[in-house]
Amino acid sequence: MTGILVCVLGMAKAQSFSGTITPDVTIPAFTNVIISSTTSATVPFSTTNDYLNGITVLNFNSFQVRCNKSWQFTIQTTTANFTGGTSTIPASIVGVRLNGGNSFYPLSTTVLILKSGTLGDVTATGHSFSIDVSANPGFNYNGGTYSIGLQYTLTAQ
């Protein structure tokens, strides 16, 4: 007995043929911060209480960070001392904290880390924040107008 079994598989199915392309997208590191302020950068000392207690300015500056890597945001002064006036006033009479924080940290030309975070847009948690500053020179300096530069730095990690 001889039989021939012919199995024809798939002939009834539609045939298909394919080809591909291989697009690529190159994305560099992006860091971007928007700084805004709704308060004056001038802190006037006009009463005895100002000298006794110092002056605190809430939400002195506000920041919105956009970054596609983990990041660190720092502050430092551009000079060790204030300029102007007739006294030498160190940067450290000004303290800074994240808005609502407990302690003020004295400023200097040394980098102070204010905040760090992960990648994301301004809507990401922790990417929008503000700082409070407190100036407390006491009675140690001559009257006058003194100024100092604040340098903010956003660094991708």
Binding site: F17, S18, N68
Partner: protein, 155 residues
């Protein structure tokens, strides 16, 4: 006396091949399928490249269709999904075929680009624009590699 029965079977299995041949194939040709994002504005606005690629179809059969699909990118820790890429057929030369001239955002399932193409031995060629949709800051720096697959089917 014992009867011996010899059983012989010839087994012939024919598979319908998916391999391309001279008369039935799709050939995809890249011209420029790279996006190099240099500014935040580029990142947020998206980009497009006209005539980024083309594909040519040879088909013995009438009523062929061409589909496209994508996949998540590879190469980084934060894959870009396929729907951030789009393709648009902008023109056809050669044998008649109906094509979707709208921008199609890719997905992992096939979407029709060409329908009811006429049989052709000389080919129908379709030119395409490649789109990169607006991105955001959730993608780490790096090179993101995609594979976009075009499939021609015959009835």
């Amino acid at each position: 006396m014992k009867a011996f029965v010899t059983c012989s079977f010839f087994l012939l299995i024919v598979f319908a091949g998916n391999g391309q041949d001279k008369s039935n194939k799709i050939t995809v040709t890249e011209s420029n399928c790279s996006f190099n994002i240099s500014t935040i504005a580029n990142l947020l606005a998206g980009q497009s490249t006209a005539n980024a690629f083309s594909f040519q179809v040879l088909s013995k059969a009438n009523s062929y269709h061409v589909y496209v699909k994508g996949a998540n990118s590879t190469g980084t820790t934060t894959p870009i999904p396929p729907n951030k890429l789009g393709v648009q057929v902008t023109s056809r030369t050669g044998a008649a075929a109906t094509y979707n001239s709208s921008k199609i955002l890719l997905s992992t399932v096939d979407q029709a680009l060409v329908t009811n193409g006429s049989s052709t031995s000389t080919g129908a060629t379709f030119s395409c624009t490649l789109f990169l949709e607006p991105l955001d800051f959730s993608y780490v720096p790096g090179v993101y590699n995609f594979v976009v697959t075009f499939t021609m089917t015959q009835p």
